[in-house]
Symmetry: C2
Subunit: 128 residues, 2 copies
DNA sequence: CCCTCAAGTCAATATAGTTGACATGAGGCG
DNA sequence: CGCCTCATGTCAACTATATTGACTTGAGGG
């Protein structure tokens, strides 16, 4: 399973490295892509890291204008994160490298096999 | 997939932490369990880390007498590693925690589903 | 005696996280 | 207005796990 994880992320990591980013940046982009306007606090909870650990990669992404942050309009005190067009592009390309690997593997086992794979992963991921 | 990996290793990691060990120690024990009398150089290659990185956890395991090392008898200049009884016990208990999680997940999808899961993992692990 | 190979060790550095303490900016409220 | 709280931001010290480079040790071989 360890090697499976490595095999899936290998090409995406190479792509990210060329952009001067790493896995932690991708995790942030990935979460924000799937939950636009997420607050920083929620992001911290989802990623399961401290705000200090989030700070550096997040600022880098903001500085590169891959993400924007703005106070919630007329509402809360939290800042909402959103991908810029450039951010979307990078997130997609990195995730696509991973999806490509998965798609090829799923093609070999068919739809039922793919569904079984998902079911197994969900079951063990629940094991918290 | 990340959460799947975490779910699988979570309980094993808790057990290992109680023994004052970590994932890296388990990796060493795991490899030696499956390849008794392995040389240190081969272990380094399999784990894919530098000898300096291996040094610390390996010495800890030797110091705790979970592993033994001895010069190859009348043969080479390499040292061969082997688990002690205590080492086997710890390795088994840690691996059993992981296998338990997998077995439960496999039970839900049946033999064909389990085979499909394995096939997918092997395909993506090959992606080097 | 010298060379080589496998292993062991020392030091400096990188990466990715941690905890603790404190600062800032906005809203709610008496 | 002044004070409290919440969400965020930042500084510093520390830990764990890895890296590369340089050097040592111990066992054979020619």
């Amino acid at each position: 399973m360890y090697y499976g994880w490595r095999g899936m992320t290998l090409e995406a990591d190479e792509y990210l490295a060329k952009q001067g980013l790493s896995r932690s940046h991708h995790r942030i982009l990935y979460v924000v892509a799937r939950q636009p306007d997420i607050a920083i606090g929620s992001l911290i909870e989802i990623l399961g890291i401290s705000k200090q650990a989030l700070n550096r990669p997040l600022n880098l992404l903001l500085g590169r204008k891959l993400l924007t942050s703005q106070r919630s309009p007329e509402q809360h005190r939290s800042k909402l994160l959103r991908l810029t067009e450039a951010g979307k592009r990078i997130e997609q390309r990195a995730s696509d490298q991973e999806r490509k690997v998965m798609r090829e593997a799923f093609d070999r086992v068919g739809a039922r096999g793919a569904a079984a794979w998902m079911a197994v992963m969900e079951t063990i991921a629940d094991n918290n």
